[in-house]
Symmetry: D2
Subunit: 265 residues, 4 copies
């Protein structure tokens, strides 16, 4: 459905609000100039109520739509360690985090419009129908209008659609893909795209064709609603900026997730 | 306004869902037969997402209305230790906890209808206009229909009204009052009422007259919307049961908070 | 080496001090009458500094030797959920927890004399030479005189010996064994021994013969230094008491770990 | 006693190892070139077992002596918020944190040689004989050879001496003092010394004369064993470096705490 409806539009998202107490992480101010949607940490793998409040305010000031970015309850491991939750625990943790951000958002008159799982919870659910369904089920129970921002071509999108949620499929600006349409594992040499020009070309082709291209050149058709960029490290910001500018130069409109043609109610 | 409108009605509330992970606290099953509203811990001083989910379900099954029971982020101290938060921190913590419970409640099709601060946060705010206003402000921003369940005759009710929230004033079934209308400090000999018959008489008089009576017999007019009972220890449950039965025997209707005449929209 | 040296002696151990903040767990007072060594939780999966202090004091009063019982940092999951730590993280977590208990023990003039991993950390390390070696290495670096209380016939004992630690092998009073010498999985019908008389017979045979007997009757020779008993639930205490009395009736001396003949320096 | 024995020697200390999980804080590498003793966070207000392990290793490589830097259990507030612990809780928390660091230190063959309270725990104990005695008592129970690094002229030193601990009194390189010998509150204009030349002069006079000089010029005799410097912000490092160089230029030997003449056993 998406290939045509998305014509000329794309979203750019990034993880934001990952500071905690006195510890600062990331370049939120810089990243907010690039993205149109933010995945806001909810206090389990990063952030705390005050950081969330500050992040929501910054998003509001920059016209950036906000999404809940729930993760495993593991600050020390930043939500990147395997933790085996039961399905019930997962549902409860998802709902809790979304709700917390919804209320914090209300303090600044903002509304949470999407949800994207973080870190190892994202990686595990991308391959697990059971986990993805639990996440989708809990998300829908909390707010049926939430958009599930899913890793393209994974179990996340399937589960979200099955449970009646709108789905935004995301691709990465600085990562390559295998012939199966999955991210090339980080340990492999060509997993990252650090050259801004290459990243721009890579992203433009995916947006234009609504398809992923693997490192071997294979074309995997796919809804491309959002480009995920990163803000950690100077390279990341440079690449992210280049991608935004490259897309705009090509006449693509960069919009918040709820304004994507394929996601309009 | 309340004295007349509440005629023949009262609410009974108690703190519930105070287990954490593998640790069980309280007799929630017993208490749920007595109360009509539950103050549900939100994971900061007690509880966790799964305990909250189980608690909400039990409340739904028992027709008990639920309220958020936010506290200081201090599991080890059960939210009973002084922690000096800034006003901004307090607002963020209040919103976060209410939102988390709202979303967990949604998993079982329930709605959070009131808010009552816990432990030291309650004690400190009862005497602090600044803290009470922060709590009221954050609560209203999250949901303007939430009822602020306030310790009768304290800064809590004043602040809540100032910020446009409906207020339910609560008195205690098993505690006595000073001539100033405050709770007799626990260290004093006559602070507790452990005799069920006396507790029934004490509560009935407060409900009938919409007034607090001090240990010296002084009458302090006061809206009496809700009776707070406790579930820890066999005495507490016995007293609580007696109070409920005594009120019913006197023809008083025991209703969930949102059904109190004085609180109807 | 152990079969002969242990003649007429055995240790009984149990996990103690698993309360947390205001939440009580277990029957420590009852269990302390049965055991001669306690595995004391160190604040990561259960307990906190004050609970540890109280537990150490109770052990001192009962002549019970104390061991550190380190676990994964997961209060909510009670250290029973899989968490994948790096080897370095595991070493640091082991050292941290042992040291914390050593210092708390010093407040009551006590000394930590053994170490036993808890929950999922125990289960995972029992099968992992790499994890067991990390635990042994960290333990030895902290105090080379610490006894590694190991699940009999697992990687734990091998790793501990390799790193020059004294090893106590433990069997369970209320659990059965497979022909491979491992615990029968809990989901199988005959995994638990709930009949006190049968538990006594089971334990006596293992102590007398310094061997494990599987449910099929297979004899697996094995050093039997310590019997692990549980205190949760009335059955557990009854079985534990019976085991202690049965062993004493047979003239077996029940001693703290450091007094076991096989473990004397 | 100290004025003469310290002639020609002083220690420089700083708080180190204040990162947490994925969050980095401070310039430990730079600061380690300046100081001779480090106060290492113990996981309650900052740090975690792995950060502690890395910090200890860095200290070992730089010949810097290490001390435990216990604080309130409040990562989010960085140990800077008032939390009212009971005396028993305080003792348990102090012992726990010292022990944890001792064990982590052992992983790299290091020994903890001093203890200095952090943040609000330091501020509150500086004025409270009861709190300072609890800290001293717990410290001594864990290791009677530990040096109590105390804010000069406060209850900390008195309590430590009363409980038989060696005391190092510290002054600040970048803070001014009132006529009462206390730090000028931060809100006052002249509380900080940001000019490196002035800081050097200020410190040299305190070291030479073993006395504090107030902003009004009042001389308060005082043992000056250690200079506390900070590493947060470029100014802090510049001032700290200047102080070290200024002291060395004046022929003062900068030594680890245990090598201070007044603190030798």
């Amino acid at each position: 459905m998406a290939a045509t409806t998305n014509a000329g539009h794309v979203n750019i998202n990034s993880d934001l609000g990952e500071s905690f107490g006195p510890w600062v992480m990331g370049n939120d101010t810089e990243v907010l100039k690039i993205v149109t949607s933010a995945n806001v940490a909810c206090g389990f793998h990063a952030s705390d109520p005050v950081v969330m409040m500050d992040t929501v305010k910054l998003c509001a000031q920059n016209g950036v739509s906000i999404g809940a970015h729930p993760g495993f309850a593991d600050l020390q491991g930043f939500g990147r360690r395997v933790i085996n939750l039961t399905i019930k625990e997962l549902e409860a943790n998802i709902a809790y985090q979304i709700g917390a951000l919804q209320a914090i958002a209300a303090l600044h008159g903002m509304k949470v419009t999407h949800m994207k799982p973080h870190g190892m919870m994202a990686n595990m659910s991308a391959e697990s129908p059971e986990m993805s369904e639990a996440i989708a089920r809990a998300t829908r129970a909390v707010d049926r209008d939430l958009i599930f921002l899913a890793q393209a071509n994974t179990e996340q999108g399937k589960a979200a659609r099955k449970h009646g949620l709108r789905v935004a499929e995301e691709v990465f600006a600085d990562r390559t893909y295998t012939d199966a349409g999955f991210l090339t594992p980080r340990k492999e040499a060509n997993s990252m795209i650090k050259d801004p020009a290459k990243a721009v070309e890579h992203v433009r082709r995916m947006v234009d064709e609504q398809a992923i291209y693997s490192t071997s050149g294979k074309r995997i058709p796919c809804q491309v609603d959002s480009i995920c960029v990163h803000g950690d490290g100077p390279t990341a910001v440079t690449v992210s900026k280049a991608v935004r500018e490259g897309l705009e130069a090509a006449g693509i409109r960069i919009v918040p997730l709820p304004e994507m043609p394929s996601l309009r109610p």
